[in-house]
């Protein structure tokens, strides 16, 4: 983008790699963070391609790899990739729906050196899980998988995205985490990008329900200290200040998409004019330090004056670039959820409208126009 200063800042090396191994997934969750335009199997990096990415990540300074998707287990080479992580000293975190990994495959992942499992739950019972995931029988499969993970002594985190269709189950999710032997529970309110943005009118919870959920979570955190660690991600449309998105653009994490694009975050492709580099043509280090997309919003110099003089600048770095783009048409604006943003009132109005809608889910699927991989 020609009007943006392309200053090469001296960035620190990344700590984390989000490896989106595939966009294929047996679930169809309407809040999925993947882009609406999903990448197809035929475009995915091959095993050697991902192994090279993992080795380059380790050399670059990455410490933790989040094997994600889609459903990472849809890749037949998942065990090999975990092995590569272990060989490189990378901490491997498997982010899975837990509906397709057999006990034998889990044993192989364990033997390969898998460090941690993060298992998603869409509902705290069979009915809600099927409604949200679009998959019959998913709940029982997830519970069985959680049991196998715990039985192996692998540390387990349950991950729940909260929205209008399951926000009434916060207590049940906490009970479920305790029953399944999880050490951690992540309760993250939906973030409106990708499929979640398309489904915003079906997902946005009402303010009263959000407040009840927040109180429940805070009380549970205190009550369960030492038994279950609960991490919560607040619903930023209802907040006064933005989230410290990605802890800063191009500061800590690099995403690699199934086809090999290096992104500063999931949603970065929604910002027009950014040039992303692919691991097929560039080394990971080159992408991190020199690709135009990574350098576009490093630091905070591009933010408006209100941010420059704000005492929260070092806390939230002006929030999310993608949300600024989406709501204001300018990715250099402060995140519009901020109470100091001229667009803050618009967000409040929009949130109220969306929470009042009664829309059906647009389930996450590959587009019908082209033949699915």
């Amino acid at each position: 983008m020609s009007d943006m200063p392309q200053v090469e800042t001296t960035a620190a090396p990344p700590m984390g790699l989000l490896a989106e191994l595939t966009h294929r997934c047996p679930l169809q969750c309407p809040y999925c963070s993947n882009p609406v335009e999903l990448e197809r199997r035929s475009d995915e990096l091959d095993t050697a391609g991902w192994q090279r990415v993992l080795r380059e990540a380790a050399a670059l300074g990455v410490l933790q790899v989040h094997l994600s998707g889609g459903e990472p287990a849809a890749r037949p080479d998942l065990v090999e990739l975990v092995e590569t992580c272990a060989q490189e000293g990378l901490y491997s975190n498997l982010i899975t729906a837990g509906v397709s990994i057999t006990p034998e495959r889990l044993a192989a992942l364990d033997a390969a050196g898998l460090d941690h499992v993060q298992l998603s739950f869409q509902g705290a019972d069979d009915v809600v899980t099927e409604h949200v995931s679009g998959m019959r029988g998913a709940f029982d499969k997830k519970c069985a998988f959680a049991g196998e993970v715990s039985a192996r002594g692998l540390p387990l985190t349950l991950n729940v995205v909260l929205h209008r269709a399951n926000i009434h189950q916060v207590d049940d999710f906490i009970e479920l985490a305790l029953r399944l032997g999880a050490e951690r529970l992540e309760l993250a309110h939906a973030q409106y990008y990708g499929w979640a943005l398309r489904n915003r009118g079906a997902l946005m919870p009402k303010r009263a329900d959000v407040m009840t959920a927040l109180r429940t979570v805070e009380a549970a955190k205190e009550r369960l200290k030492g038994r279950l660690a609960i991490d919560s991600v607040v619903p930023d449309y209802y907040a006064h200040f933005p989230k410290p998105c990605m802890n800063g653009w191009g500061q800590q994490t690099i995403n690699v998409t199934p086809s090999g694009l290096g992104l500063p975050c999931h949603a970065a492709q929604t910002i027009p004019g950014l040039e992303f580099w692919n691991v097929r043509e560039h080394g990971l280090s080159d992408i991190w330090y020199h690709s135009p997309a990574f350098n576009a919003f490093r630091g905070t110099d591009f933010l408006p004056e209100t941010c420059q003089s704000c005492d929260r600048l070092d806390i939230d770095h002006g929030g999310c670039r993608c949300q600024a783009m989406m709501m204001t048409g300018d990715a250099r604006q402060m995140d519009p959820v901020c109470q100091h943003s001229p667009w803050h009132e618009d967000i409040q109005t929009l949130t109220l409208e969306e929470a009042g809608r009664d829309e059906p889910f647009a389930y996450r699927r590959f587009a019908k126009t082209a033949r699915p991989a």
Partner: protein, 95 residues
């Protein structure tokens, strides 16, 4: 559920927590589920003796010799570190 931390306690890193050198940024880190803890020089000097066999008191003894320091101070540092890590679920008392 968890045993108490005292001079006779034996601690170890639980499954899912690993210590390694962080060459890119310098220093050592504890890698844990969804989190990374950067260890300062003192924390690292203590943690290299955590092997799931030695007691807190034995670790203190080693450090007193290695650093030629006052036992009271070392014991205080070791217990403070262990308490902090146990609170964050990245260290466990096994006996």
């Amino acid at each position: 559920m968890s045993k108490t931390l005292d001079d006779n306690a034996v601690v170890r890193l639980p499954r899912g927590v690993r210590m390694r050198e962080d060459a890119a940024r310098g220093g050592w880190v504890l890698l844990a589920p969804e989190r990374i803890f950067q260890l300062d020089a003192i924390a690292h000097a203590i943690m290299i003796h955590v092997d799931g066999e030695r007691t807190t008191s034995q670790i203190v003894d080693v450090l007193v010799v290695d650093y030629d320091a006052e036992r009271r101070q070392i014991r205080h540092d070791v217990l403070a570190l262990f308490h902090a890590l146990i609170d964050r679920n990245v260290l466990e008392v096994i006996s």
